[in-house]
Amino acid sequence: MSVFTDIRRTVYGKERLRTFSIGGAHPPSCKLAAQSATEEMIPEGTVSLFLGQHIGAPAVPVVGKGERVKTGRLVAKANGFVSANIHSSVSGTVLAVEPVADLAGRRMPAIVIQVEGDEWEEGIDRTPDIANDISAIDAATIIRKVSDAGIVGLGGAAFPTHVKLSPPQGKRARTLIINAAECEPYLTSDYRVMLESGEQAIIGALLLQRALDAPEAFIGIEVNKPEAIFHLQKIIRERGYSIRVVPLRQRYPQGSEKQLVEAVAGRRVPSMGLPVDAGAVVQNIGTALAVYEAVQKNKPLIDNCITITGRSAPRQVNAMVRVGTPLSKIAAWAGGIPSDTGKIVCGGPMMGKAVANIDAPTVKTTAAILYIPEREALRRKESNCIRCARCVRACPMGLEPYLLIRLTQCGRYDELQTHRTYDCIECGCCLYSCPARVPLLDYIRIGKEKIKR
């Protein structure tokens, strides 16, 4: 506690640390890979680029079988406004455009490329120099470059960034919030980005701010990452950037858009609305870095930082991994899958997906490979609900999970609507805190599907 108290006193006066106001949980942060510097993994063999790895219409392939591509070459074009370009993450030969099994084993269309060397497209600036001159770039150029580079929200939703940068008619974003909360346990990729590419990410944030024409910009970071807070503040102070770091109290799900808007800006997003309805746009810190690379360096989104971690992992690794690399290759490269693994999660332990097919390729938003030991892999048996109301206390949206699951079980789907089931952000706080291990979230997901129809 003393570290946090110190931060508060020395840097922020006596201001209370901000956070969201309803519910939440405190899973232990377990940032095991926090001290591992980012390594770069160059893939071998084949990579597979899914055509639909973003929200919206799948991209349309613009290369054919046998065609040679260089790293950074456009291989699939956005299909419409809400869609995103896809670029080759390696250089080599296109083997096929065919269905490839994803994490869950579903076969989805993808471009499969045989890796041959690592030759980059012309015009991509790969020098490490920081290009911090953004005075000559206007909003339209930024949005066009972001769109060309195929950037999507890297926080997990994979929503095309250029769409987020073009708010609907009559709505204006007053506040840009850069999401660096990284509230999921175990994940450290955003943390490494802040420490290693802090200035680039800040420039990316300023570009986003210009694209939105937002008067104010904040970076929200939880206080369990004091080095990142100090580091970014130092850069901002030295360079005089007009962006503020907002330290946040550690609490899950702080990194959820709606919760972050409340924590940082003090405004609440209306039900079924977008953050822009509360005058805010939220972008992940990883997205900000990608925007910097796209606008200043002409580099499309072809790699991202992935944490490979777990209590029995042979090595705690943060790695820049090319999109489309099979998870099994990454795991083998990072020291192999520990023998006591009972479950492999792609993403954080609260919201990540369990991996059924370890050979599935990564997508732009893949954040982590997490090994869960055998003894923690299976859920405990469900017992009677004792109506302790912990789920109600934990729900950050102020819903009543115990009621929603009962209504779903009884098939009373029309009542689910009146109890605002659609507001559920699937953060998992209810199931996390339930002493009877009632599969609350599983049923709520079913209920949400039912009311969509």
Binding site: I22, S271, N384
Partner: protein, 347 residues
């Protein structure tokens, strides 16, 4: 929902030497268990039990043991032979019910009285509705009220605390019944307090007559502290019960201090603390939303004071809690937790 999913044999690129668990998120858990919560309630009741043993002797421990054993055995037997499901006495909920029942009876209650209470509590109130989490009324309280109405003589045979040293117990009345009876005979509050030497000190530390668990306010407050510290309960219900009792009791006291005892006396005497802290906060039979909890608590407080001052019984918190138990489904329906964000009507 959970199953060890074998990866489709026909799928290209599979791991054949190992099966992974595939289940929906979240993949971690806080570690909270029903058993853990119940264990915390038992720990919170320990000081009250210790004080009861200190004042009423080792016989008290025997009463508690009989009560707990009969509750657990009955739940086990019903689950195994009637419901034919796996007995879940491991969750300690029957143990809590048993201990609460023992603390709600007069010290030195005969064994048949205790076991009758257990049968009503576990057999009728809890298991006939389907077991843990399904019963609308608090089992221990129904047990107690059943005994109070059916066996009024044994149930008001109060032993005045003497300590473990003395064996021959003295019987006497509870402070609340002393006041009720003497007011009926025309004495004033001041007169009663002076004549029967009723001091707050004794109420706080327990040299009063009453149910085994309600004699010491300090021990019960220590338990309250533990429950709050471990975040087993939220403070809403106990504070609403005690606050509304103090408020309403205070109004009557200000109207006529010679006819109505002061609010502090109300809070420290009888089952107020035991009821507010341990009986009204029972998860199963109390509301789930903060506003519901407050209304529930206020209802209990108001009804308790009204029964104490104007009812036939000197103490009314058991009745008040059971009456409010019946309103819980309505309170759950008409109170809602604070939602995130304004609701937007979509046509």
């Amino acid at each position: 929902m959970d199953e060890k999913m074998k990866i489709d044999e026909g799928m290209p690129g599979r791991f054949t030497d190992k099966d992974w668990v595939v289940s929906p998120a979240p993949h971690v858990h806080s570690g909270a268990t029903t058993q853990g919560l119940m264990r915390d309630v038992l720990i919170a009741l320990a000081p009250a039990l210790a004080v009861a043993v200190y004042f009423f002797g080792w016989q008290m421990l025997l009463t508690a043991a009989v009560s707990v054993a009969s509750c657990v055995a009955l739940e086990f037997a019903i689950q195994k032979y009637l419901m034919r499901c796996r007995p879940s006495v491991n969750d300690l909920s029957a143990t809590v019910t048993g201990l609460l029942l023992a603390l709600n009876l007069p010290a030195g209650a005969p064994w048949w009285l205790v076991t009758t209470g257990s049968i009503v509590a576990i057999g009728i109130t809890k298991m006939s509705f389907g077991g843990l989490g399904k019963n609308p009324f608090n089992p221990a309280l129904v047990g107690r009220v059943f005994l109070l109405i059916s066996f009024p003589v044994q149930m008001t045979h109060w032993v005045v605390p003497q300590g473990t040293a003395t064996t021959d117990a003295v019987t006497g009345a509870t402070p609340l019944s002393i006041i009720k009876e003497n007011l009926a005979q025309g004495l004033s509050i001041d007169g009663i307090v002076e004549r029967f030497d009723l001091s707050y000190w004794e109420l706080l530390f327990g040299r009063i007559g009453g149910s085994a668990g309600e004699v010491s306010a300090v021990a019960l407050l220590a338990g309250f502290g533990w429950l709050l510290f471990r975040r087993v309960i939220r403070p809403h219900i106990p504070l609403a019960v005690l606050g509304s009792m103090a408020l309403l009791g205070g109004v009557f006291w200000l109207v006529d201090p010679q006819r109505f005892i002061d609010p502090l006396f109300h809070l420290l005497s009888g089952g107020a603390l035991l009821g507010a802290i341990f009986m009204a906060t029972d998860y199963v039979t109390s509301p789930m939303n903060p506003w519901g909890m407050l209304i529930f608590g206020i209802g209990i407080g108001v009804l308790t004071i009204l029964i104490r001052l104007f009812g036939a019984y000197p103490e009314g918190i058991s009745f008040a809690i059971l009456i409010m138990n019946a309103t819980v489904p309505l309170l759950n329906k008409y109170t809602k937790p604070k939602r995130y964000g304004k609701e937007v009507r979509h046509g």
